[in-house]
């Protein structure tokens, strides 16, 4: 049986990559006659360029996954486009590849694109490179030209941190040294491209010695539980004792179960189900490991991020982080720097735009289990998902944990929030007023607080303007500062809820994601979203503080509604239409709503 080689192919536009892949596949017999290009050699490219839109534009715009095989090897090829704006596809293809096949046009030499592609492939852990120096026919099959490019690439690889590289002079158009040897380059005595790909033993990351298995799901058969997952490192045998992280408990493996019968031992790459001798607590997101050699656990870590989305990184915003079988809320600090991929220079950065790569610290809502990416792609690579659009906005590689959380233990208090609230005789609530500047949030919140106070309720009003004068004095009005403003307000409100208070918070809070973040911070059902709905024209007309006038005159930047967006709540608990409702009526409406709530 043939072994599997997963490879990534990349090159700049017009390097002839699609033609090379087309030829490789045709000559290996992987392309049936009824799908063969009609006649001209250029049409080889059509085999790799699958989508209609791509054929129209004559470029490759997405990763194509192609298979072919020889008696010696089965190849799984991720063909990625050369266009700069599709860098994310390169990272996608590289994430699962053992080897990168890079194309260079002999007549043009190494281009900025080539350097970027090599850098991304190296960053994602590829240490085996094959450099196909194409279009040798255009440089008269010149040996000196080939060796100069080969030397230049070896130097580039050294700067990236090293790796193995084999360079091969080819002409995809004529088929020289692709599958068959070329008479035109008698000076070259190395393997053809296909011979090399059939024989190369790719350098991979140092395999993890210790056993690692992220638990995917628990299969319950009567009283017996089986823990299913794919082994990410090491091996496990029946009778072994394994550690269950993060709980730290241990269990003895009674059986390794498969449909073909029990097996004595399983190793990295196997998808298995384990039964333990005794019942223990273990579920999806936990990781099984060798006792005494637990995976790293941290809630703050340094990572390299590759940004995919059109919406840039917003430091402080909550994203969903997925790593192995764990999913957790996470936020990204302002980047330490971004990478200039052509020179590998560290550049200053406040954010990351689409297709940019940078280094930043990340913190998660609870500790996660991982290994540094350099030791394990499966346990050190993660994706970030936007909580509203659900798009995969970034991929990340964890370098190391910052271990700050270990020294900060939450102070457990024996007087609980519930007991404090009981003493005050009320159910804590966070009434969150959102709306444009001048919509009437503070006015209405003030009236509601007076009414609550008159009924003997213990309240506190957190007003956006007042908080900005004190706690958040250091923050401005950029999107990132607005996120941090709301995060701190949310945390302050949460402490007051714990104290048993009914908190009224009046903040423009223009972004849905941050309002959802505050909702997630406080106990379920405590967050009440009140949308003070005043159309922009009306708020601007009132302009009690003269702010709209200033913003229109260009004296105030990032003003919500003018040059910064307001994302209206889609499903507010209470909506106040301030055109048809007076402030007093609005306060009564909210009081009535509160009285209808249970508790």
């Amino acid at each position: 049986m043939a072994s599997l080689l997963r490879l990534l192919t990349c090159g700049s536009v017009d390097d002839g990559k699609s033609t090379l892949i087309g030829r490789l596949m045709v000559e290996c017999g992987a392309v049936p006659d009824d799908r063969l290009p009609r006649s001209s050699a250029l049409d080889y490219a059509l085999i790799a360029d699958g989508l209609e839109a791509e054929r129209e534009q004559g470029i490759t715009i997405d990763v194509a996954h192609l298979s072919f095989e020889t008696p010696h090897r089965r190849f799984l090829l991720a063909d990625t486009p050369g266009h700069e704006q599709y860098t994310r596809n390169m990272a996608t293809g590289a994430s699962n590849a053992d080897l990168a096949l890079l194309l260079v046009d002999a007549s043009r030499g190494l281009l900025v694109q080539t350097r970027r592609h090599a850098a991304i492939a190296h960053l994602l852990g590829i240490r085996s490179f094959c450099l196909a120096v194409n279009k040798m026919d255009l440089v008269g099959h010149d040996r000196g030209r080939f060796e100069a490019i080969e030397g230049e690439f070896a130097a580039l690889l050294d700067r990236l941190g090293g790796g193995a590289c084999t360079a091969i002079p080819v002409s995809a158009l004529n088929g020289d040294n692709v599958v068959t040897r070329s008479g035109a380059m008698a000076w070259y005595d190395g393997p053809t491209l296909l011979e090399h790909l059939e024989q190369v033993a790719p350098e991979t990351e140092e395999a993890l010695a210790g056993f690692r298995m992220p638990v995917q799901l628990v299969l319950r058969e009567g009283g017996q539980r089986h823990y299913a997952g794919t082994i990410a490192g090491g091996a496990v045998a029946a009778g072994d004792t394994v550690l269950i992280a993060p709980s730290g408990r241990t269990a003895r493996v009674a059986r390794i179960v498969t449909m073909d019968g029990e097996v004595a031992r399983a190793e990295a790459g196997d998808a298995v189900a384990l039964a333990f001798e005794a019942q223990v607590d273990c579920s999806r997101g936990d990781m099984l490991a060798t006792p005494g050699d637990p995976p790293t656990e941290a809630d703050q870590f340094e990572s390299t991020l590759i940004w995919f989305d059109e919406t840039p990184l917003l430091p402080g915003r909550q994203y969903l982080l997925k790593i192995g079988t764990q999913s957790v809320a996470a936020a990204v600090h302002e980047p330490k720097h971004k990478l200039g991929l052509d020179t590998m220079a560290r550049l200053a950065a406040k954010t990351l735009e689409m297709n940019e790569i940078g280094v930043a610290n990340i913190w998660t809502a609870r500790p996660i289990l991982f290994e540094p990416y350099e030791r394990s792609r499966a346990l050190g690579g993660f994706i970030l998902i936007d909580r509203i659009s659900n798009a995969t906005v970034a991929a990340g590689l964890i370098h190391f944990g910052l271990r700050r959380a270990e020294n900060l233990h939450e102070q457990a208090s024996s007087v609980t929030p519930a007991r404090r609230a009981a003493l005050l005789g009320q159910r804590p609530k966070l009434l969150w007023f959102t709306g444009l500047s001048g919509a009437g949030k503070s006015t209405i919140a003030n009236l509601v607080e007076q009414k609550l106070h008159a009924r003997g309720r213990h309240t506190f009003l957190l007003d956006g303007d007042n908080v900005r004068l004190g706690l958040n004095r250091d923050l401005g009005f950029t999107a990132a500062d607005r996120v941090e403003n709301i995060r701190r307000a949310g945390e302050a409100a949460r402490l007051m809820l714990d104290a048993g208070l009914i908190v009224l918070a009046a903040f423009i809070s223009p972004f849905r994601a941050e309002r959802d973040m505050v909702r997630a911070m406080v106990p379920d059902g405590d967050f009440v979203e009140i949308f003070v709905d005043t159309p922009l024209a009306e708020a601007e007309h009132r302009d009690a503080k003269g702010l709209y006038q200033k913003a229109r005159a260009g004296q105030l930047a990032n003003f919500t509604g003018i040059d910064s967006p307001y994302e209206a709540p889609e499903d507010a608990d209470v909506r106040i239409d301030t055109i048809s409702t007076s402030a007093e009526e609005a306060a009564e409406l909210i009081m009535n709503w509160l009285e209808r709530q249970p508790g």
């Binding site: 009824d34 994430s95 089986h226 659009s389």
Partner: protein, 299 residues
């Protein structure tokens, strides 16, 4: 690199099946009783052993499958102990849509594309496993393993989510759903090699035998039941043929063949210069027809 590639593909497929089930609210497996379906069902039984795969099977039927496929479908579902849902588009039924009178395009659109959307909506399935492979057809080569579909079941190649490592983003907005393809990285050859190795039962139509056929427009159609209307000058002739893919019988042409078992099929495939879907009459209506079908919601 010592383990052979089929073991790696098998482990990958099992990982995908488990990941999808762990994250979906209402998963379902599309099941047509074709060879890819049979391999996918086998992998599902392995993935969840010792329990039964925790989802039902769904057959979007057209009423025009080969008779043997119905028998095999029911037998395999029963053997797996899984619920089998059969959906037939009532509109297509009422209008009597069939491939002979209405052509491949309309027949496929109403029975299969519309029928699939109806079934998924009716049962509120948020994830459907399919046996499609990336080597089948050029537009499939760009398909994700977890493929997002809009509330109207459309596929937007430009809105596909990047897929790195073995991490799959299964988050859905209102009405959206996922198609998940555990066999994405398999080839036709891998499927047959695996069928042989694991002794998986597949329809005998894949193997050569004397069968009643009619030659029409260069294709050898099988006369699978008495609904086959003969055109003037046509005659039913016994020929030794096999099917390379199975769909609706009037749309799946046989190929002349002597390959009577899996080993012979593998040998024939190694020597063949034609693509697997050569006998499929639905792919060739117009250029890029598969890509258009997928954008409309075809599996």
């Amino acid at each position: 690199m010592t383990r052979d590639h089929l073991r790696r593909l098998e482990a990958e497929a099992i990982h995908i099946l488990r990941e999808a089930v762990a994250e979906a609210a209402r998963p379902v497996m599309l099941f047509s009783a074709g060879k890819d379906s049979c391999v996918m069902l086998h992998l599902a039984r392995k993935a969840f052993f010792p329990i039964r795969p925790p989802f039902p099977l769904l057959h979007v039927d057209t009423g025009w499958k080969f008779r043997e496929m119905y028998t095999l479908r029911d037998r395999l579902a029963a053997e797996a102990g899984m619920e089998l849902i059969v959906h037939r588009n009532p509109d297509a039924q009422a209008q009597g849509i069939n491939p002979f009178d209405h052509g491949a395009a309309l027949h496929t659109d109403l029975w299969k594309t519309e029928g699939l959307k109806q079934a998924l909506d009716q049962h509120r399935f948020d994830l459907a496993f399919g046996g499609a492979r990336r080597d089948e057809e050029p537009s499939r080569s760009k398909e994700r393993i977890f493929s997002l579909r809009s509330a109207s079941h459309a596929w937007d190649p430009k809105r596909q989510r990047p897929e790195l490592w073995s991490l799959y983003n299964s988050r859905l907005g209102p009405g959206e759903s996922l198609r998940v393809f555990p066999l994405s990285n398999w080839t036709e050859r891998d499927v047959w090699t695996y069928v042989a190795r694991e002794r998986i039962a597949v329809a005998s139509l894949y193997f050569a035998a004397e069968r009643p056929t009619v030659e029409r427009a260069g294709a050898l159609l099988l006369v699978d039941d008495d609904r086959f209307p003969l055109q003037p000058g046509e005659a039913v002739v016994q020929r030794r043929v096999r099917l390379r893919t199975l769909g609706c019988y009037p749309l799946s042409a046989g190929i002349p063949s002597d390959a009577a078992d899996v080993e012979a099929v593998l040998a024939e495939m190694a020597a063949s210069r034609r693509s697997e879907r050569q006998g499929r009459l639905i792919d060739h209506d117009q250029p890029s027809s598969m890509e258009r079908k997928k954008k409309q919601g075809y599996f």
